[in-house]
Symmetry: C2
Subunit: 182 residues, 2 copies
Amino acid sequence: MALSHAIMTALLEDTMSGYELAKAFDVSLGLFWRASHQQIYQELHKLAAKGWLQQETVPQAGKPNKIVYALTPVGHVALEAWVLGGSRVQEGKDDLFVKLYNLAEHNASHLAAEIEQRREQMMQRLYLYEKIRRRHYADPATLPVRRKGVYLALLAGIRQGEHTLSWCDEALALLATVDQRP
Amino acid sequence: MALSHAIMTALLEDTMSGYELAKAFDVSLGLFWRASHQQIYQELHKLAAKGWLQQETVPQAGKPNKIVYALTPVGHVALEAWVLGGSRVQEGKDDLFVKLYNLAEHNASHLAAEIEQRREQMMQRLYLYEKIRRRHYADPATLPVRRKGVYLALLAGIRQGEHTLSWCDEALALLATVDQRP
DNA sequence: CGAATTTATGCAATTTATTGCATATTTATT
DNA sequence: AATAAATATGCAATAAATTGCATAAATTCG
Protein backbone atom coordinates (compact mmCIF):
# COMPACT_ATOMS: atom_id res chain seq x y z
CA MET A 1 0.00 0.00 0.00
CA ALA A 2 1.30 3.40 -0.86
CA LEU A 3 -1.02 5.58 1.21
CA SER A 4 1.20 4.85 4.20
CA HIS A 5 4.20 6.05 2.27
CA ALA A 6 2.41 9.13 1.08
CA ILE A 7 1.62 9.94 4.71
CA MET A 8 5.22 9.41 5.80
CA THR A 9 6.35 11.59 2.93
CA ALA A 10 4.09 14.36 4.15
CA LEU A 11 5.69 14.01 7.58
CA LEU A 12 9.23 14.34 6.23
CA GLU A 13 9.43 18.03 7.03
CA ASP A 14 6.75 18.81 9.57
CA THR A 15 5.14 16.75 12.28
CA MET A 16 1.38 16.82 11.83
CA SER A 17 -1.88 15.65 13.32
CA GLY A 18 -4.34 13.53 11.38
CA TYR A 19 -6.53 16.53 10.82
CA GLU A 20 -3.68 18.57 9.46
CA LEU A 21 -2.60 15.69 7.24
CA ALA A 22 -6.08 15.39 5.82
CA LYS A 23 -5.95 19.05 4.88
CA ALA A 24 -2.44 18.77 3.46
CA PHE A 25 -3.70 15.93 1.28
CA ASP A 26 -6.29 18.26 -0.14
CA VAL A 27 -3.61 20.45 -1.63
CA SER A 28 -0.08 19.55 -2.60
CA LEU A 29 0.30 15.80 -2.18
CA GLY A 30 -3.39 15.26 -2.68
CA LEU A 31 -3.03 15.83 -6.40
CA PHE A 32 -1.13 12.60 -6.68
CA TRP A 33 -2.71 10.64 -3.90
CA ARG A 34 -6.17 11.37 -2.61
CA ALA A 35 -7.33 10.14 0.79
CA SER A 36 -10.20 10.81 3.16
CA HIS A 37 -9.67 11.64 6.81
CA GLN A 38 -11.08 8.27 7.87
CA GLN A 39 -8.46 6.49 5.82
CA ILE A 40 -5.72 8.68 7.17
CA TYR A 41 -6.64 8.16 10.81
CA GLN A 42 -6.73 4.40 10.36
CA GLU A 43 -3.43 4.37 8.55
CA LEU A 44 -1.82 6.52 11.24
CA HIS A 45 -2.77 3.97 13.89
CA LYS A 46 -1.28 1.14 11.86
CA LEU A 47 1.92 3.04 11.21
CA ALA A 48 2.30 3.95 14.87
CA ALA A 49 1.76 0.31 15.84
CA LYS A 50 4.46 -0.70 13.38
CA GLY A 51 6.87 1.76 14.90
CA TRP A 52 7.22 3.83 11.76
CA LEU A 53 5.58 6.84 13.36
CA GLN A 54 5.54 8.09 16.89
CA GLN A 55 2.58 9.79 18.50
CA GLU A 56 2.57 12.66 20.88
CA THR A 57 -0.53 14.10 22.44
CA VAL A 58 -0.51 17.86 22.48
CA PRO A 59 -2.98 19.46 24.86
CA GLN A 60 -4.24 22.69 23.41
CA ALA A 61 -5.74 25.49 25.33
CA GLY A 62 -9.14 26.21 23.89
CA LYS A 63 -9.20 23.39 21.35
CA PRO A 64 -9.52 19.61 21.58
CA ASN A 65 -6.26 17.77 22.16
CA LYS A 66 -4.46 16.79 19.06
CA ILE A 67 -2.26 13.80 18.39
CA VAL A 68 0.81 14.81 16.49
CA TYR A 69 2.75 12.28 14.46
CA ALA A 70 6.45 12.22 13.60
CA LEU A 71 8.51 9.92 11.43
CA THR A 72 10.76 7.57 13.43
CA PRO A 73 14.23 6.55 12.21
CA VAL A 74 12.81 3.09 11.41
CA GLY A 75 10.03 4.70 9.42
CA HIS A 76 12.55 6.81 7.58
CA VAL A 77 14.51 3.74 6.54
CA ALA A 78 11.32 2.02 5.35
CA LEU A 79 10.40 5.07 3.31
CA GLU A 80 13.83 5.22 1.70
CA ALA A 81 13.54 1.56 0.75
CA TRP A 82 10.13 2.14 -0.77
CA VAL A 83 11.42 4.98 -2.92
CA LEU A 84 14.05 2.67 -4.38
CA GLY A 85 11.49 -0.02 -5.20
CA GLY A 86 9.45 -0.26 -8.40
CA SER A 87 6.49 1.97 -9.13
CA ARG A 88 3.16 0.67 -10.19
CA VAL A 89 1.55 2.19 -13.22
CA GLN A 90 -1.17 4.64 -12.39
CA GLU A 91 -4.74 3.64 -12.89
CA GLY A 92 -6.87 6.00 -14.85
CA LYS A 93 -10.45 6.35 -13.67
CA ASP A 94 -12.54 8.97 -15.26
CA ASP A 95 -16.27 8.81 -15.84
CA LEU A 96 -16.21 11.54 -18.39
CA PHE A 97 -14.32 9.57 -21.01
CA VAL A 98 -16.54 6.55 -20.58
CA LYS A 99 -19.49 8.87 -21.08
CA LEU A 100 -17.98 10.22 -24.27
CA TYR A 101 -18.20 6.72 -25.70
CA ASN A 102 -21.95 7.18 -25.32
CA LEU A 103 -22.11 10.45 -27.22
CA ALA A 104 -25.37 11.07 -29.09
CA GLU A 105 -27.38 14.09 -30.22
CA HIS A 106 -29.57 14.11 -27.14
CA ASN A 107 -26.72 14.14 -24.62
CA ALA A 108 -24.16 16.30 -26.42
CA SER A 109 -25.21 19.46 -24.63
CA HIS A 110 -24.97 17.76 -21.26
CA LEU A 111 -21.49 16.44 -21.98
CA ALA A 112 -20.43 19.85 -23.25
CA ALA A 113 -21.61 21.36 -19.97
CA GLU A 114 -19.61 18.80 -18.01
CA ILE A 115 -16.52 19.57 -20.02
CA GLU A 116 -17.00 23.28 -19.54
CA GLN A 117 -17.28 22.71 -15.81
CA ARG A 118 -14.12 20.70 -15.76
CA ARG A 119 -12.36 23.41 -17.72
CA GLU A 120 -13.41 25.94 -15.13
CA GLN A 121 -12.12 23.82 -12.26
CA MET A 122 -8.84 23.25 -14.00
CA MET A 123 -8.40 26.96 -14.64
CA GLN A 124 -8.73 27.66 -10.95
CA ARG A 125 -6.33 24.91 -10.03
CA LEU A 126 -3.79 26.09 -12.57
CA TYR A 127 -4.06 29.61 -11.24
CA LEU A 128 -3.17 28.33 -7.79
CA TYR A 129 -0.30 26.21 -9.06
CA GLU A 130 1.20 29.02 -11.04
CA LYS A 131 1.03 31.24 -8.01
CA ILE A 132 2.88 28.64 -5.93
CA ARG A 133 5.38 28.17 -8.70
CA ARG A 134 6.17 31.84 -9.03
CA ARG A 135 6.42 32.30 -5.30
CA HIS A 136 8.48 29.27 -4.33
CA TYR A 137 9.99 27.75 -7.42
CA ALA A 138 10.89 30.68 -9.63
CA ASP A 139 14.45 29.44 -10.15
CA PRO A 140 14.43 25.62 -10.06
CA ALA A 141 18.16 25.23 -10.63
CA THR A 142 19.05 26.83 -7.32
CA LEU A 143 16.63 24.82 -5.17
CA PRO A 144 17.91 22.33 -2.58
CA VAL A 145 17.68 18.76 -3.83
CA ARG A 146 14.46 17.65 -2.19
CA ARG A 147 12.67 20.79 -3.27
CA LYS A 148 13.61 20.04 -6.84
CA GLY A 149 11.61 16.83 -6.60
CA VAL A 150 8.59 18.67 -5.24
CA TYR A 151 8.99 21.19 -8.04
CA LEU A 152 8.91 18.41 -10.63
CA ALA A 153 5.71 17.06 -9.16
CA LEU A 154 4.19 20.53 -9.25
CA LEU A 155 5.33 20.89 -12.83
CA ALA A 156 3.60 17.64 -13.72
CA GLY A 157 0.41 19.07 -12.27
CA ILE A 158 0.82 22.22 -14.30
CA ARG A 159 1.56 20.40 -17.55
CA GLN A 160 -1.38 18.12 -16.90
CA GLY A 161 -3.63 21.09 -16.36
CA GLU A 162 -2.48 22.79 -19.54
CA HIS A 163 -3.15 19.62 -21.49
CA THR A 164 -6.59 19.33 -19.98
CA LEU A 165 -7.44 22.91 -20.91
CA SER A 166 -6.44 22.55 -24.53
CA TRP A 167 -8.27 19.25 -24.79
CA CYS A 168 -11.41 20.84 -23.37
CA ASP A 169 -11.27 23.49 -26.06
CA GLU A 170 -10.91 20.96 -28.82
CA ALA A 171 -13.68 18.84 -27.36
CA LEU A 172 -16.07 21.77 -27.03
CA ALA A 173 -15.41 22.81 -30.61
CA LEU A 174 -16.24 19.37 -31.91
CA LEU A 175 -19.26 18.96 -29.65
CA ALA A 176 -20.65 22.26 -30.93
CA THR A 177 -21.04 20.61 -34.32
CA VAL A 178 -23.07 17.78 -32.76
CA ASP A 179 -25.28 19.66 -30.38
CA GLN A 180 -28.86 19.87 -31.61
CA ARG A 181 -30.27 22.23 -29.04
CA PRO A 182 -33.01 24.38 -30.54
CA MET B 1 -20.19 2.32 -9.22
CA ALA B 2 -19.13 3.16 -12.71
CA LEU B 3 -17.40 -0.08 -13.69
CA SER B 4 -20.82 -1.46 -14.51
CA HIS B 5 -21.45 1.46 -16.84
CA ALA B 6 -18.07 1.10 -18.45
CA ILE B 7 -18.90 -2.53 -19.16
CA MET B 8 -22.27 -1.64 -20.62
CA THR B 9 -20.60 1.01 -22.73
CA ALA B 10 -18.22 -1.58 -24.12
CA LEU B 11 -21.24 -3.70 -25.02
CA LEU B 12 -22.96 -0.89 -26.92
CA GLU B 13 -21.68 -2.10 -30.27
CA ASP B 14 -20.61 -5.69 -29.88
CA THR B 15 -21.82 -8.48 -27.64
CA MET B 16 -18.85 -9.89 -25.75
CA SER B 17 -17.82 -12.54 -23.29
CA GLY B 18 -16.13 -11.72 -20.00
CA TYR B 19 -12.82 -12.76 -21.38
CA GLU B 20 -13.18 -10.55 -24.43
CA LEU B 21 -14.28 -7.66 -22.25
CA ALA B 22 -11.22 -8.05 -20.08
CA LYS B 23 -9.04 -7.78 -23.15
CA ALA B 24 -11.00 -4.85 -24.54
CA PHE B 25 -10.42 -3.08 -21.23
CA ASP B 26 -6.72 -3.49 -21.73
CA VAL B 27 -6.83 -1.29 -24.81
CA SER B 28 -9.36 1.38 -25.71
CA LEU B 29 -11.66 1.84 -22.70
CA GLY B 30 -9.00 0.56 -20.34
CA LEU B 31 -7.16 3.84 -20.56
CA PHE B 32 -9.97 5.55 -18.72
CA TRP B 33 -11.17 2.71 -16.56
CA ARG B 34 -8.96 -0.18 -15.61
CA ALA B 35 -10.43 -3.47 -14.39
CA SER B 36 -9.21 -7.01 -13.78
CA HIS B 37 -11.01 -10.04 -15.16
CA GLN B 38 -12.15 -11.04 -11.67
CA GLN B 39 -13.87 -7.72 -11.26
CA ILE B 40 -15.45 -7.95 -14.68
CA TYR B 41 -16.85 -11.44 -14.17
CA GLN B 42 -18.37 -10.46 -10.86
CA GLU B 43 -19.88 -7.34 -12.28
CA LEU B 44 -21.31 -9.23 -15.24
CA HIS B 45 -23.17 -11.54 -12.88
CA LYS B 46 -24.61 -8.62 -10.99
CA LEU B 47 -25.68 -6.85 -14.15
CA ALA B 48 -27.30 -9.97 -15.53
CA ALA B 49 -29.16 -10.48 -12.24
CA LYS B 50 -30.39 -6.90 -12.45
CA GLY B 51 -31.66 -7.46 -15.95
CA TRP B 52 -29.37 -4.91 -17.54
CA LEU B 53 -27.50 -7.58 -19.48
CA GLN B 54 -28.61 -10.86 -20.94
CA GLN B 55 -26.43 -13.93 -21.09
CA GLU B 56 -26.19 -16.48 -23.84
CA THR B 57 -24.01 -19.56 -23.66
CA VAL B 58 -22.21 -20.19 -26.90
CA PRO B 59 -20.80 -23.70 -27.28
CA GLN B 60 -17.60 -23.58 -29.27
CA ALA B 61 -16.09 -26.42 -31.15
CA GLY B 62 -12.57 -26.93 -29.86
CA LYS B 63 -12.67 -24.25 -27.15
CA PRO B 64 -14.40 -23.97 -23.80
CA ASN B 65 -17.93 -22.62 -23.91
CA LYS B 66 -18.20 -18.92 -23.60
CA ILE B 67 -20.92 -16.80 -22.07
CA VAL B 68 -21.70 -13.87 -24.27
CA TYR B 69 -23.36 -10.77 -22.85
CA ALA B 70 -25.62 -8.27 -24.56
CA LEU B 71 -27.15 -5.02 -23.37
CA THR B 72 -30.91 -5.27 -22.71
CA PRO B 73 -33.32 -2.40 -23.43
CA VAL B 74 -33.59 -1.82 -19.68
CA GLY B 75 -29.82 -1.69 -19.42
CA HIS B 76 -29.70 0.77 -22.26
CA VAL B 77 -32.10 3.10 -20.51
CA ALA B 78 -30.06 2.88 -17.31
CA LEU B 79 -26.89 3.69 -19.20
CA GLU B 80 -28.49 6.72 -20.86
CA ALA B 81 -29.60 7.98 -17.48
CA TRP B 82 -26.11 7.56 -16.08
CA VAL B 83 -24.60 9.57 -18.90
CA LEU B 84 -26.89 12.47 -18.07
CA GLY B 85 -25.94 12.38 -14.38
CA GLY B 86 -23.02 14.17 -12.76
CA SER B 87 -19.44 13.02 -13.09
CA ARG B 88 -17.18 12.55 -10.15
CA VAL B 89 -13.75 14.08 -10.27
CA GLN B 90 -11.02 11.62 -11.05
CA GLU B 91 -8.74 10.48 -8.33
CA GLY B 92 -5.05 10.78 -9.02
CA LYS B 93 -2.91 7.93 -7.74
CA ASP B 94 0.67 7.83 -8.79
CA ASP B 95 3.55 6.53 -6.75
CA LEU B 96 6.10 8.31 -8.82
CA PHE B 97 5.09 11.79 -7.77
CA VAL B 98 5.01 10.84 -4.12
CA LYS B 99 8.49 9.46 -4.57
CA LEU B 100 9.67 12.70 -6.10
CA TYR B 101 8.85 14.40 -2.81
CA ASN B 102 11.59 12.16 -1.39
CA LEU B 103 14.24 13.19 -3.90
CA ALA B 104 17.82 13.09 -2.59
CA GLU B 105 21.28 12.59 -4.06
CA HIS B 106 21.34 8.88 -3.38
CA ASN B 107 18.05 8.11 -5.10
CA ALA B 108 18.14 10.55 -8.00
CA SER B 109 19.54 7.98 -10.41
CA HIS B 110 16.85 5.50 -9.48
CA LEU B 111 14.09 8.03 -9.99
CA ALA B 112 15.60 9.07 -13.29
CA ALA B 113 15.55 5.44 -14.39
CA GLU B 114 11.90 5.15 -13.43
CA ILE B 115 11.05 8.26 -15.38
CA GLU B 116 12.95 7.01 -18.39
CA GLN B 117 11.03 3.77 -18.21
CA ARG B 118 7.76 5.62 -18.06
CA ARG B 119 8.80 7.71 -21.02
CA GLU B 120 9.49 4.57 -23.00
CA GLN B 121 6.09 3.07 -22.15
CA MET B 122 4.37 6.28 -23.11
CA MET B 123 6.17 6.43 -26.43
CA GLN B 124 4.89 2.98 -27.31
CA ARG B 125 1.40 3.82 -26.27
CA LEU B 126 1.41 7.05 -28.24
CA TYR B 127 2.66 5.21 -31.28
CA LEU B 128 -0.31 2.88 -31.05
CA TYR B 129 -2.76 5.72 -30.53
CA GLU B 130 -1.47 7.70 -33.46
CA LYS B 131 -1.80 4.64 -35.64
CA ILE B 132 -5.41 4.19 -34.57
CA ARG B 133 -6.05 7.83 -35.10
CA ARG B 134 -4.68 7.92 -38.60
CA ARG B 135 -6.48 4.76 -39.56
CA HIS B 136 -9.92 5.42 -38.12
CA TYR B 137 -10.20 9.07 -37.18
CA ALA B 138 -8.32 10.92 -39.89
CA ASP B 139 -11.22 13.27 -40.52
CA PRO B 140 -13.12 13.81 -37.27
CA ALA B 141 -15.69 16.18 -38.72
CA THR B 142 -17.22 13.49 -40.93
CA LEU B 143 -17.53 10.82 -38.25
CA PRO B 144 -20.94 9.61 -37.06
CA VAL B 145 -21.89 11.16 -33.73
CA ARG B 146 -20.94 8.35 -31.37
CA ARG B 147 -17.58 7.90 -33.04
CA LYS B 148 -16.86 11.56 -32.44
CA GLY B 149 -17.09 10.90 -28.73
CA VAL B 150 -14.72 7.98 -28.95
CA TYR B 151 -12.40 10.17 -30.96
CA LEU B 152 -12.40 12.82 -28.25
CA ALA B 153 -11.48 10.21 -25.67
CA LEU B 154 -8.66 9.00 -27.88
CA LEU B 155 -7.51 12.56 -28.32
CA ALA B 156 -7.41 13.02 -24.57
CA GLY B 157 -5.16 9.98 -24.38
CA ILE B 158 -2.90 11.41 -27.04
CA ARG B 159 -2.70 14.86 -25.47
CA GLN B 160 -2.03 13.26 -22.10
CA GLY B 161 0.75 11.20 -23.58
CA GLU B 162 2.34 14.21 -25.22
CA HIS B 163 2.23 16.07 -21.93
CA THR B 164 3.82 13.15 -20.15
CA LEU B 165 6.63 12.93 -22.67
CA SER B 166 7.55 16.58 -22.42
CA TRP B 167 7.37 16.44 -18.63
CA CYS B 168 9.68 13.41 -18.60
CA ASP B 169 12.21 15.37 -20.63
CA GLU B 170 12.11 18.33 -18.29
CA ALA B 171 12.33 16.06 -15.27
CA LEU B 172 15.29 14.13 -16.63
CA ALA B 173 17.12 17.34 -17.42
CA LEU B 174 16.70 18.63 -13.89
CA LEU B 175 17.53 15.28 -12.32
CA ALA B 176 20.76 15.13 -14.29
CA THR B 177 21.95 18.15 -12.31
CA VAL B 178 21.26 16.28 -9.05
CA ASP B 179 22.55 12.84 -9.86
CA GLN B 180 25.84 12.12 -8.12
CA ARG B 181 26.72 8.80 -9.71
CA PRO B 182 30.50 8.39 -9.95
C1' DC C 1 5.82 -36.32 -26.29
C1' DG C 2 5.74 -33.00 -22.79
C1' DA C 3 5.73 -28.13 -21.42
C1' DA C 4 4.12 -23.76 -21.93
C1' DT C 5 0.76 -20.62 -23.50
C1' DT C 6 -3.82 -19.05 -24.73
C1' DT C 7 -8.69 -19.21 -24.15
C1' DA C 8 -12.32 -19.16 -20.72
C1' DT C 9 -14.47 -18.83 -16.14
C1' DG C 10 -14.73 -18.51 -11.40
C1' DC C 11 -14.13 -18.67 -5.77
C1' DA C 12 -12.20 -16.96 -1.48
C1' DA C 13 -9.55 -14.00 1.35
C1' DT C 14 -7.71 -9.82 2.08
C1' DT C 15 -6.77 -5.05 1.46
C1' DT C 16 -8.41 -0.42 0.26
C1' DA C 17 -11.76 3.00 0.00
C1' DT C 18 -16.24 5.07 0.76
C1' DT C 19 -20.36 6.33 3.28
C1' DG C 20 -22.64 7.52 7.16
C1' DC C 21 -22.62 8.45 11.57
C1' DA C 22 -20.93 10.02 16.41
C1' DT C 23 -18.59 12.88 19.71
C1' DA C 24 -16.62 17.09 21.87
C1' DT C 25 -14.94 21.88 22.12
C1' DT C 26 -14.29 26.67 20.56
C1' DT C 27 -15.20 30.60 17.69
C1' DA C 28 -17.91 33.22 14.70
C1' DT C 29 -22.49 34.44 12.98
C1' DT C 30 -27.27 35.81 13.23
C1' DA D 1 -28.85 33.15 23.31
C1' DA D 2 -29.07 29.93 19.76
C1' DT D 3 -27.04 28.25 15.59
C1' DA D 4 -23.62 27.23 12.61
C1' DA D 5 -18.94 26.35 11.37
C1' DA D 6 -14.31 24.92 12.19
C1' DT D 7 -11.20 21.96 14.84
C1' DA D 8 -10.23 17.23 16.11
C1' DT D 9 -10.85 12.24 16.28
C1' DG D 10 -12.91 8.02 15.56
C1' DC D 11 -16.27 3.55 14.73
C1' DA D 12 -18.97 0.54 11.80
C1' DA D 13 -20.90 -1.06 7.62
C1' DT D 14 -20.52 -1.54 3.07
C1' DA D 15 -18.46 -1.36 -1.46
C1' DA D 16 -14.72 -1.93 -4.54
C1' DA D 17 -10.35 -3.80 -5.88
C1' DT D 18 -6.49 -6.85 -5.47
C1' DT D 19 -4.15 -11.19 -4.76
C1' DG D 20 -3.86 -15.84 -5.03
C1' DC D 21 -5.60 -19.84 -6.38
C1' DA D 22 -8.33 -23.38 -9.18
C1' DT D 23 -10.24 -25.58 -13.19
C1' DA D 24 -10.42 -27.16 -17.98
C1' DA D 25 -9.62 -27.72 -22.91
C1' DA D 26 -6.92 -26.44 -27.07
C1' DT D 27 -2.86 -25.00 -29.41
C1' DT D 28 1.84 -24.17 -30.16
C1' DC D 29 6.73 -24.81 -29.47
C1' DG D 30 10.86 -27.27 -28.81
